[in-house]
Every structure is written in structure tokens, then in C-alpha cells.
């Protein structure tokens, strides 16, 4: 019984949160890796663009809620996602036409394009704060729980419970669908194949008649979809705050680099590695050990490896270890 209790405890506080957080990171890291594979630069504005897309979804959600639209137990925000994707795609394509395209034409060094993305970051960050402000915004509605800790305890008779929030289930389901669709697109469709070809060998792709501008446009639209879904899922699951979204840049990049920049499979794998390490390292294991160890061995402290505020250190350490030991990442990066 104690072992079961410990297991449920870990499931509730480590596994479930890490899986949903990892799924969110995966969508963000996929965007970073796609941009890197096709456009060949590190997109520093990723976090702020995510805040922008989530903001547009939030505004649309509020309007829908005002008009009395609802999805019943599901959050209304899901209805607003297509609109958010459209707005974000317009923003990204606008940024590409006005900023990035020039550097592509003159074949500027990647680092210069990174700096340009810093400029975009400033502008978008300012826009978000200008429109919705720097504070927390709540836009979740619908049923909060699939089943609560109490219901689980009453049902199973265990001392410890497992709660499953609707947003966590939605996160995982949506991520699986999106990742499946993306891989299907990249591997099965003509456009997806041309993207992979372009990422693998630009000159050869040009030679075989692939239109580079079209590849770039499709990439930005896919990125807009990924980033909007990622931002909305994160916002529903936790909360929306522009600065938090900016800070997500670090774990998302860490995930993409960990998996191998330019490798979509790697980005997904890297995201779960980062998420599990972050949650596992910052969880206090005291109660788990109390169940597993004999009564008089019970630990005094919290048995927490690192305080939750040090979660950035986890991304950083993993990033550095991988870069030092296997610079190409877990899955060899560079091509889609």
C-alpha cells in the first residue's frame, strides 16, 4: 500500500506536470528547430511572439465569452486558436518581409539575423505590454478537473490522490495530434518534402526547382500554428504573463539544442528531457520517502535537490553538458 501511495504521489506531482509541461515545451522547441533548419538562425523573438499570439487568443476568447459562446466543459480559448494562428502568421510574415528577408538576400551572417530578431523581440514585447499590459491574465473556463485528488482518493481508498486537470489532458491530446500532423506533413506531402530538401541542402533544392520564398512562407505559417497552440496550452495550464513567456525562451532553446538543432524528433525528445529534469530536480521528495522508508528513517528536511526558483539552472546545466559531450545534440541536428 505504501508503495502504491508513493507511486501515486510521484504521478501527481512529477509525472503528470512534467508530461504536460514537456508537451508545451515540445511545441515551442519544434518552432525554434524549424526556423533554424530552414532559415538558419536562432529565433530569439520566439518567447515574445508566443506572448503575442496568446494575447490575440485571449482577446478573442474574451469577446466570445462576452457573446455567450462556449465549448461546454472545454475552454473557449480552443475556439479562438485559429484566429490567433492567423494573426500570428500575419505578424511573422510581416516581420519576415520587413526584416528577415533582407538579410537572406544579402546572405548576412547568422549572428546578424539573431540581432535583428532581438529588434523584433523588443517591438513585439512592447506591443504585447502596450495592448494587454504586463500583468497576469486569466482566460481559462470550462471544467477545471477531469477528476480531483479527493475523487481519486474516495474511489481507490488510497491515502494519496491523483488529480487530473482538464487542461493537462487537453495539452497532451493536442500535442500528440499536432506533432503527428507535423511529421505527416514533413514526410508525406510534397511541400513538406521540399522543406526537408531545402533544409538538407539549399543549393541542391534550388537546383531542383524548389521555390525558396514559398518554403520560407510555409515555415512561418507552421511556426505560427505551433507557437500559438503552445502559448495557449501553457496559458490555460498555468497562466499568461508576458515576462514568463519571454523566460520560456531558455527551456525551449535548451530543448531544441539538446535534441539537436534542426531535428524535429530531437526537439520533442529534448523537451521531455528538460521538463522531467526540471520537475524532478525541484520536487521535494520527503513524503515519498516517508512512504518508502521505515518510520524511523524518515528524512528531516524536504529532500529537495534544488529550490523551484533554480529551474533555469536545470535547463542551463543540461544544455552545457550536451554541448560539451555531444555538440550535435541527442539526434544529429542540422537537417529536418
Amino acid at each position: 500500500m505504501d508503495i502504491l501511495n508513493a507511486f501515486v504521489l510521484l504521478l501527481n506531482f512529477v509525472v503528470v506536470p512534467a508530461v504536460s509541461y514537456g508537451s508545451q515545451l515540445a511545441l515551442g522547441a519544434l518552432g525554434i528547430t524549424l526556423i533554424y533548419g530552414i532559415l538558419r538562425f536562432s529565433h530569439f523573438a520566439h518567447g515574445d511572439i508566443m506572448a503575442f499570439s496568446t494575447m490575440s487568443v485571449i482577446l478573442a476568447t474574451w469577446a466570445m465569452q462576452g457573446a455567450g459562446l462556449s465549448l461546454g466543459p472545454l475552454p473557449t480559448a480552443l475556439l479562438a486558436i485559429p484566429l490567433g494562428i492567423a494573426v500570428t502568421a500575419a505578424l511573422l510574415l510581416g516581420a519576415d518581409r520587413s526584416v528577415y528577408r533582407f538579410y537572406r538576400k544579402v546572405k548576412a551572417k547568422p549572428i546578424i539575423v539573431v540581432m535583428a530578431s532581438l529588434g523584433v523581440m523588443f517591438v513585439v514585447n512592447g506591443l504585447v505590454r502596450f495592448i494587454i499590459g504586463p500583468d497576469d491574465q486569466d482566460f481559462a473556463d470550462g471544467a477545471r478537473f477531469l477528476f480531483t485528488v479527493r475523487e481519486f482518493r474516495d474511489f481507490t481508498g488510497l491515502d494519496e490522490g491523483l488529480g487530473l486537470r482538464t487542461t493537462q489532458v487537453i495539452t497532451v491530446v493536442v500535442t500528440v495530434l499536432v506533432v503527428w500532423a507535423l511529421f505527416w506533413f514533413l514526410n508525406r506531402t510534397r511541400t513538406g518534402k521540399s522543406m526537408r530538401a531545402f533544409s538538407d541542402n539549399e543549393d541542391l533544392a534550388l537546383l531542383s526547382g524548389i521555390n525558396p520564398e514559398r518554403v520560407v512562407t510555409v515555415t512561418w505559417i507552421i511556426v505560427a500554428a505551433l507557437i500559438t497552440i503552445c502559448g495557449v496550452l501553457y496559458g490555460l495550464d498555468k497562466s499568461f504573463k508576458p515576462f514568463t513567456y519571454f523566460q520560456l525562451l531558455l527551456p525551449m532553446f535548451a530543448a531544441a539544442i539538446l535534441g539537436g538543432m534542426g531535428s524535429p524528433v530531437g526537439a520533442v525528445a529534448g523537451a521531455y528531457v528538460i521538463a522531467f529534469s526540471e520537475v524532478a530536480v525541484t520536487y521535494a521528495y520527503r513524503k515519498v520517502l516517508e512512504y518508502l522508508l521505515p518510520a524511523d528513517w524518515a528524512p528531516e528536511g524536504l529532500v529537495q535537490l534544488l529550490g523551484t526558483d533554480y529551474k533555469f539552472a536545470v535547463s542551463f546545466v543540461l544544455l552545457v553538458i550536451v554541448l560539451l559531450i555531444r555538440p550535435t545534440g541527442i539526434f544529429k541536428g542540422q537537417t529536418l
Partner: protein, 433 residues
Amino acid sequence: MNPRTPLLFAVMGLLLVYVGWSQSPSVALGLLTMCLLSAIMALGVNIQWGYAGLFSTGTMGFVALGGLAAVLTSMPHEAENWAAGGPRALFALLVGAGIIVAAVLLWKRLPPGTMRTAAVGGVLAVGFWVYRWLYDPATIAIEGTNTAASGYLGGLGLPILFSWITGALLAAAVAWVIGKISLGLRSDYLAIATLGIAEVIIAVLKNEDWLSRGVRNVNGLPREPVPYEVDLQASPEFIAWAEWLGMDTVEASSLFVKLCFVAIFVVVLGVLMWMSERAWTSPWGRMMRAIRDNETAARAMGKDVKARHLQVFILGSAILGMAGAMLVTLDGLMTPGGYQPLRFTFLIWVMVIVGGSGNNWGSVLGGFLIWFLWVQVEPMGLWVMDLVTGTLAEDSPLRAHLIEAAAHMRLITMGIILLLVLRFAPRGLIPEK
């Protein structure tokens, strides 16, 4: 020197004079102090990016370390807290460092294989446990003593001017460690890694209450050589002097304090500028540019690229640390929550790129100009919003929102300036050559 330089600096001076005339001399002097400080930070980043082409986004971390050094150097010693656990905490830190050194040595000495991984992992795991066993009770004891008033170890009680040196040294020491780990990385990976390190440093400052009180902040840092306004207002000499000038005592004291800071900052900036220019024209500077422009060729000429990168990374970080200590001296308080990457990392980068990377004068000008705009765009934005919303009703919610949001205009402005400069004048206002 580029013939454009004096002209641009003259324009900058006129802008500041205009603010002094149209707003108030006090505002202009306050702006000038921060302009000088920003120029020093920009010099630090320019040494890393302009001299050596290192794209480090850890600026904020080093500035914050300088602030920490100001606290540790100048605040009075807290004897009770020290007695509660000071030696044990320091010993724990030493043990922690020793464990890491041991792990690194093992990794280097042992032949690659499962044995090595197991040995290093074992040392780290046991070491971490020992470290926490030593460290946790010590910090709890320190934080538990006099929590409301101090709850930390305090500092050395030295004049705060020393902290400008210790700030530079602390930042340099940390930069050595970070550089050792991450300088081998490709340019944009280095940027991500240093961005992470800066966040980790801020997390340490926010959470290690025994060190610098964490988010409870340290205030009332002494600023010895510069007098306090209240003291000046009480001094008969100063009152007589202010009367002779025909000024209000309160205003005169505030101006006097600001002038003192300006004078000291000008001296520091002057010395740093002189050293940077000497370094730039020296054989060392030529070597750095050679490495920056063509690493492979420089290596072929027998230059130790890795060591030079580390060196220049440490030098730039030291300047940032010094600027961080100066900033805390100026404010008289240390607030870890105030360190934001947009303000302390990316804004400094905008200064360097707009001013002209690779040119010290350019970076200084960039520091002045961008800080000036960063502060002055806010009233300008407010003015624009007032104009735009003039036709709306006084109590219109849109108008209230727009006026409240006007402060965020400066982020948009900075982004647009950066994008325009990158596009149309990628070498900055005062180019390298």
C-alpha cells in the same frame, strides 16, 4: 578619430542641455549620471563583442554581481548572524568548490568509459549530499537570526568605493568559470548559454537570503565620499554657499549630490576609455581583431584563440561588474527583482550596435543616446497619446488604457531603432574605421 565623433557628441550634449532647460537641471543631471553609467556598461559589452566577436547575453548577470559586491563590501558586518553560521556556510561553499574541482580532475585523468562516468557521477552525488548537509543548517541559522532587521551576513564595512574594484573582481572570477565552460560553443549557443547563466545568477541573488537578503532587498547602502542631501541642508557652510548662488537649499543640495556623482563617473569613464583605446591600438588589440575577423588564420599564426577569448570575456565582464557596483552605489539599494534582461542585457546591446560596435567612442555615444531615449521616450509617448486621444471623452476607457500603456512605447521605439540601424547603418553611428 572619426570626424563625425565630436559632432555627434556635441548634438548629444545639446540634447541634455535642452532637457536641463525645458524640464529642469536636476532631471538633466540625473539623466547624465545614468548616461555615463550606461556608457561604461556599453564599453564592457563592446570589449566582448566589438573586440572579439563574442555574443554573450549574460550582461545582466555580471551587472548584478557588481551589485552583490557593493553589498558585501560596504554594509556593516552582522556579528550575530556570522556567529550563527557564517564560518560553516563559507566552509560548505569551499567544500562545494572542492567537489567540483575533484570531479573535473577525475574526468580529465581517468580514461574514457563507463568507469569514468560512474566515478565522476559518484563523486558529484556524494559530494552534493555532503555539501547540503554542511550548507543547509548554516543558512537556516543565519537567516533565522534577526530576520526582520538583517537575516544575512552583512558585509565588510569598507567604504563603498572599494566595491567598484571588488565588483569587477567578483564579476571577473565568475566570468572565468563561465568562460571556461561555455566559450567553446558556437556563437548563438553561447548566447543562449549566457542568457541562462544570467538568470541563474539572478535566481541566486533572489533566493540566497543569507547572502544578500534575497527579495527583501538591501537598502541604505552608505555612499561615503558623496554627501547626503540632508547633511548638506543642515550644514551652515552649504546654506551660505547656496544663498550666495541665490538658490533654494534643498534644490542646491540635490544638484550638488548629482554633480558629485557625475564628476566621479566621468573620471571612471575617462580612465576606462583611455585604457580601452590604448588596448585597441596596441598589438594586443590588433591580435584580437585578427582573431575576430578570421579565427582560423589567427590560429595558424600561433595565436591561442581560446585563451584570448577567455581573457577578453573576463575583461568585459569586469567592467560590467564595476558598472553594477556603481549603479548600486548611486541608488543606495540593491533589489534583485529589479534586474530584467530587457533592461540590463538587451538594452546594453542596442547601445553598442547603435553606437558602433568595435568603436569605443561609438559605444559611449550609444550608451548616452539610447539611455537618453529610453527615459525621454516615455514623456514623448505620453504626449503623443494625449494628442491622439484628444478627441475622446475624458472618461473613455480606451483613452485611459492608451495613456497608461504609453510607458511601453519605449520598448517598441528601441526595437525600431535597432532594426533601422541594423538595416541601414549596420556599422553603427560611429563605425569602427
